[in-house]
């Protein structure tokens, strides 16, 4: 089971997604991997009609979500009625193709 992972700064405690090697807040290089968990809420979203090559869904619903620990992520939203503030959970699945390769990652659905 794929779990959505971020990193946490050992110095100041800020959590980031996606993983990075340094802390944006305090520039520390002491970061450790953490699970982001199953619960996040929708901060904002859009329905994209002008899809790029490699995306096969129209419209593509994209959003910014925020986890309890403050980390945010951008991703595809799969829900019947999209509403700001709604609860979502990350799921692993196909996102798009790049060239001929199918690309997998985390998207967000209703819990």
């Amino acid at each position: 089971m794929e779990k959505m992972m971020g990193v946490k700064c050992k110095s100041c405690g800020r959590v980031f997604y996606p993983k990075r090697s340094t802390c944006l807040s305090c520039r520390s290089q002491e970061v450790e991997e953490v699970e982001l968990g199953d619960r996040c809420k929708l901060v904002t979203y859009t329905e994209l009609y002008a899809i790029p090559i490699g995306v096969h869904k129209i419209p593509l619903v994209l959003g910014i979500v925020e986890f309890d620990n403050g980390a945010r992520a951008t991703g595809q939203i799969e829900a019947d009625h999209v509403k700001i503030g709604m609860q979502l959970k990350p799921v692993w699945g196909p996102l798009r193709t790049i060239g001929r390769m199918e690309v997998f990652g985390f998207k967000f659905t209703q819990p």
Binding site: P18, E47, L48, A50, P52, L62, I64, T74, L95, G105
Partner: protein, 395 residues
């Protein structure tokens, strides 16, 4: 002691769908114009900087600066291609400035260009999306319009900006471009047609809601060029030099979601502050501005974060006509990216070309009278790499 740097020549190609020329043809068109304007021979050019984001992907040519040096017979001048997404033009001007200011080179040609209309829109959209965060945004299928759309939604919620304000900015820019012979789009649009009548739903369709067709810039072919030299050297060539008085550049998080408050364009704030400090100037001294309205919401947001209006109030200034050609602070007299067009690598240079014309009094029917100081903002990525410039008349 760094030398003062001035612009002694400028020019641009006609922007639009240019099936008549390839990328090199457009770069030559603009460069020839600026070299002629500077009244300068090829032997006096020590270096060239060429800004183009997608010359490799779309024209199969990566050694764009080397190629232009050859094509214009400027050999053996030094040559560099500069790539910084939509801020490539600004970065090229900055690098050229630094070279002249330091004394490394005396007289430098800067030309930015892009050829993008010959491929399918979905392909260009995908290539432009590569400037986003590779794993956090690009992999998800995010595109610049989708990021701009989410930014717009947050902005509307936070500050009360409405789609009508975006429409007003677009209408103003289209109107300004009617007086710009180089602009891509020469077409008046009305509030009725793109916003208030029910048929606006089809006239101005959703690209990525709440972003609609007329709230984003077109895809354009074109090139723009300037020639710069030291203030002292300039007297040999020009009696109407325009000084690059201030330059600032700043970066912000690559992924938009990473920003504390995504509606604040930190890189615009910081780069603008740096440019004003260097120029020993202030926003209220600016007579004319060229902002980067790849999406009309950005003209509003940049005008605030650059220091011209308080955060969250620029849309009211737009309503009152403050930013119109005859207003207190004309913004985008050229038509901006919306109507002048946006050949990605050319834009940063084109903004400076427009300011140069304005400060010289050469802007024809779109002249801002008495313009002495100008400001431009060249916005890379979705605000993660921004350059600001302050230009002054004279040296």
């Amino acid at each position: 002691m760094p030398r003062k740097v001035v612009i002694i020549g400028c020019g641009m190609s006609k922007f639009g769908r240019r099936d008549d020329k390839d990328l090199m043809g457009l770069l030559v068109e603009a460069s020839t114009a600026s070299l002629a304007d500077a009244n300068i021979g090829g032997k006096d050019i020590d270096a060239i900087y060429v800004s183009s984001m997608l010359s490799g992907e779309l024209s199969h040519q990566t050694a764009t600066a080397s190629a232009l040096a050859d094509e214009l017979s400027l050999l053996p001048a030094a040559a560099d291609r500069i790539e910084n997404g939509p801020a490539s033009g600004g970065s090229a001007v900055k690098n050229a400035y630094a070279a002249v200011a330091s004394g490394l080179f005396d007289t430098v040609l800067v030309t930015g260009g892009e050829k993008m209309r010959h491929v399918a829109g979905a392909t260009v959209t995908d290539l432009l999306a590569t400037m986003t965060h590779p794993t956090a945004e690009y992999m998800q299928g995010a595109t610049l319009p989708s990021l701009a759309a989410m930014f717009t939604r947050l902005y509307m919620e936070r500050y009360g900006v409405e789609p009508r304000h975006l429409a007003l900015v677009a209408i103003k820019n289209h109107r300004n471009a009617l007086k710009n012979p180089y602009a891509h789009i020469h077409r008046e649009i009305t509030l009725e047609g793109i916003y208030s009548k029910p048929e606006a739903e089809l006239n101005n369709p959703v690209v990525s809601d709440p972003l609609r067709l007329y709230y984003s810039c077109p895809i354009t072919d074109g090139a723009a060029s300037i020639v710069i030299t030291s203030a002292e050297n300039a007297r040999k060539f020009s009696d109407a030099p325009v000084a690059i008085a201030g330059i600032g550049q700043a970066t912000d998080t690559l992924a938009v979601h990473q920003r504390e408050d995504p509606t604040v364009l930190r890189a615009v704030q910081i780069s603008s502050q740096r440019a004003f400090d260097m120029a020993k100037s202030k926003p209220k001294e600016i007579d004319v501005a060229e902002l980067h309205d790849a999406f009309e919401i950005l003209e509003i947001a940049e005008s605030e974060d650059a220091g011209f209006f308080e955060k969250g109030t620029a849309h009211k200034a737009v309503e009152k006509g403050v930013t119109a050609l005859d207003g207190d602070l004309p913004i985008n007299p050229s038509g901006g990216l919306k109507a002048r067009g946006h050949p990605v690598g050319a834009t940063g240079v084109a903004q400076i070309v427009e300011l140069t014309w304005q400060l010289r009094g050469d802007a024809g029917g779109r002249q801002v009278s008495g313009a002495e100081q100008g400001y431009s903002c060249n916005f890379g990525g979705f605000g993660n790499n921004v350059l600001s410039f302050v230009l002054k008349r004279g040296d």
